[in-house]
């Protein structure tokens, strides 16, 4: 696998991206929806080109980033478990907060549940790190026991993917502050959409749902994005991350 990067799942991924682009081009996007006075149908060709090239570029980038080593997996797992313990405390501690605040305002605390995704990706710097770390944290949160049961795990998956998309779009090359903030925003949008769909489908109107998603995004940017970036920098300064990709780029003292 190390010497033949274009094998198996990656090849399928690239082929699927190209196929999706062709399908978008052939079927065409709907006329009805317009963005900035341009109907989506007029954007069919550029969007199809973007989907195809971005898909191939991302699969190529996952090959370049290399296989997960055991130390990468174990460190991501440890970060996930640490995140799960924080969740366990936060699930219980935030209940009065969540009850006191009315949605959409209650989205302001949602960022705490998103930080393992950004932290894992910043520390381990491998494709899939955001999804994996968030998934482990969510699974531990569910195992300890919370009010959401197994659906916590599905939440973790979606939140992790919200952050992962951003790291994929920068082709797993940039791990600075801007990427961290955007990843936090991506996870925030994901959880905001999921919450307003599952918990508040009838409580909030369209404007309320938009506000909920935007507040969740802001919370993700500040708590998950900025917080994880500061935490990664502090961890790198201690020298603990030396065996990992993020530790090798740390400043020499």
């Amino acid at each position: 696998m190390r010497n033949t990067p274009w094998i198996g799942p990656r090849l399928y991924g690239a082929v699927a991206a190209v196929a999706l682009a062709v399908v978008i081009y052939l079927v065409g996007l709907p006329e009805g929806i317009s963005v900035f006075d341009t109907t989506l149908a007029d954007l069919t060709l550029p969007i199809a080109l973007f989907v195809g090239t971005a898909g191939v570029a991302i699969t190529a980038a996952t090959a370049r980033a290399g296989r997960w080593r055991v130390v990468d997996i174990v460190t991501a797992s440890v970060l996930g478990v640490a995140g799960g313990l924080v969740f366990a405390v936060w699930n219980a501690a935030s209940t009065p907060l969540r009850d006191a605040m009315v949605p959409p305002t209650s989205a302001i605390i949602v960022g705490v549940w998103l930080f393992p995704a950004v932290l894992g990706a910043l520390v381990v710097r491998k494709p899939g790190a955001a999804v994996y770390t968030e998934l482990v944290a969510a699974a531990l949160s569910a195992l300890v026991g919370n009010e959401w049961g197994f659906s916590t795990v599905w939440y973790g998956l979606v939140e992790g993917m919200g952050a992962e998309v951003v790291f994929a779009l920068v082709l797993y090359r940039r791990y600075g502050l801007p990427t961290a903030l955007f990843a936090g925003a991506g996870a925030g949008v994901a959880v905001g959409l999921l919450d307003s769909l599952i918990y508040y489908p009838e409580t909030l109107g369209a404007a309320g749902k938009l506000a909920y998603v935007l507040i969740a995004m802001g919370s993700g940017v500040v708590i998950a994005g900025l917080g994880s970036w500061l935490l990664t920098r502090a961890l790198a300064a201690t020298g603990t991350l030396a065996p990992l990709a993020s530790g090798r780029s740390a400043e020499r003292v």
Partner: protein, 263 residues
């Protein structure tokens, strides 16, 4: 904190049929029921699902005390969500109580009942089935029955086992910091949490080296000390979960209250 983690490592072995089912089957049941309920917000579907779940409860092998301990937390989430919908929900139909801007109408009352029942019905199977699932069995089922990448599943399990050690480290850190005369403020606590995270990552990297030294992560076929089997009984359990989702959805459609949440 330790109270929260109580019994995470060792779950009591239960003889109840549903408690002994393969964790992969439990995962499937909880997921299928949640998906069925997430699609709609209506009192009939959620009510029927909740009733069927309560009928299955005696076979889950939880004593009433333990049952209450693991499920009171769902009520904590469901009741406030219902009250919020009652007070702030989209108004519709005859006004029952009106106090200035706050109005409770027939529409908001029925959606409040629907939301509360829905959260209970989504939460209950997950909480009850997880309370009898041992993390080790879950990892075995994920890797062997669902064929998730075993390197990731086993590393997550190994990291989970660090939790007990980290609790001891926390004690050591607390005593060391007390000896040095640190206070108990928020800043000190955050500093101690950070120190614990550094220790956890250090232990993790050492653990990774040890695991690799024993041949973990090589591209050879893996054998398993604890085989996890998916029997015909587990198939029946999954079928039961599918049945709960189908019957409750059918009841909702039959009563005419079923409505797709996305539209």
């Amino acid at each position: 904190m330790t109270a929260l983690l109580d019994g995470l490592d060792i779950r009591e072995a239960s003889r109840a049929p549903l408690a002994r089912a393969n964790p992969a089957a439990k995962l499937a049941v909880a997921s299928v029921i949640s998906i069925g309920l997430i699609l709609t917000v209506d009192p009939v579907t959620a009510g029927v699902a909740l009733a069927l779940e309560l009928l299955a409860l005696p076979f889950c092998g939880l004593s009433p005390r333990k049952m209450f301990r693991s499920s009171w937390i769902i009520l904590l989430g469901a009741i406030p969500a219902g009250l919020l919908t009652l007070v702030f929900g989209v108004d519709d139909g005859a006004i029952l109580i009106g106090l200035g801007p706050v109005t409770i109408t027939e529409g908001s009352l029925s959606s409040a009942i629907a939301i509360t029942l829905r959260i209970l019905a989504i939460g209950l199977p997950g909480v009850v089935l997880l309370a009898t699932t041992d993390p080790t069995d879950l990892a075995d089922a994920l890797a062997q029955n669902l064929h998730l990448p075993h390197r990731f599943v086993l590393s997550a399990l190994a990291a989970l086992r660090l939790v007990g050690l980290l609790a001891q480290e926390w004690q050591t850190l607390s005593m060391a910091r007390r000896a040095r005369g640190f206070g108990h403020g928020l800043k000190q606590t955050l500093g101690q949490v950070f120190a614990l995270l550094v220790i956890a990552i250090r232990r993790g990297t050492v653990l990774a080296t040890t695991m690799e030294a024993r041949g973990f992560g090589v591209d050879a076929p893996r054998t398993w000390a604890r085989p996890s089997r998916f029997t015909w009984f587990d198939g029946v359990v999954v079928l039961g979960g599918v049945l709960v989702a189908v019957v409750s959805t059918a009841a909702g459609i039959w009563a005419g209250t079923w409505n797709l949440v996305l539209t």
